[in-house]
């Protein structure tokens, strides 16, 4: 009888361990968002608001420029376009952290 109790406790402990293991495995099953990206800076919770602000500002400036009859900065544009082709030469003040060389073009 005592022996049966011991076996029952062992089986119960084993099942509990399996249950906890399954819980951890499922919780960590994040695909690309899993542990490999733990060292990547996670965007803040305000990312959507920042994106909305940036898109709004860009839409405003593109509209203003489209309406602007003043000529374009041909020289600067040509230089920056050339820089694009060579994979270098961001605009002054540009902190775009991504290489946007012809991606998807």
């Amino acid at each position: 009888m005592r022996f049966m109790k011991v076996i029952l406790i062992l089986v119960a402990s084993g099942l509990l361990a399996i249950g906890i293991g399954a819980t951890v495995a499922i919780a960590d099953d994040g695909g690309p968002e899993g542990s490999p990206e733990a060292c990547v800076v996670v965007p803040p919770a305000s990312a959507p608001a920042n994106a909305a602000n940036a898109v709004s500002a860009a839409a405003e400036d593109v509209s203003k420029e489209a309406e602007n009859l003043q000529g374009d900065d041909e020289q600067g544009d040509a230089q920056s376009a050339q820089g694009d082709d060579q994979g270098q030469g961001d605009e002054q003040g540009d902190c775009n952290e991504q290489d946007d060389d012809n991606q998807g073009e």
């Binding site: 399954a22 499922i26 860009a58 376009a81 775009n96 991504q98």
Partner: protein, 143 residues
Amino acid sequence: MLVLLIAVFLAAPSASTASNRTLKTTFARWSHVIAVDAYGIDLSAFRRHPRRMVRRARHFRVDALHARTAIAARRPSTARGLRGKRLALAAFSYYAAVGRQWVLSGQARLQRHTRAAVSHATLARQLSVKGNRTLIAAGRALR
């Protein structure tokens, strides 16, 4: 049996939290990418560099479509998560359309078609308002 039930009970909420968390992380990451792209477009427009702007607008559009694909692959487990996913997909679709209009506006500008450039830029602005509103709503749902 009891232990097994406890294990299942423990696993269920963790799994749903995990799937919602991955959606939230994906959404935040792509929102950040879109913000960076938009900043570049703003800078190019401000500096009157239409070629550069067109290039960046194309990139913006491609990123918006990638964001859509990444979010579509997520499987939220709660009603709130599902709502957030639906809104996020709509927001990035709007942004893809905004990117397209920016490309057309820049190209028209390069060809000195001012009226067409203005028309595309105006359409982009209208779409961006809708996209921004939807993105904020998605962020609220996924908070």
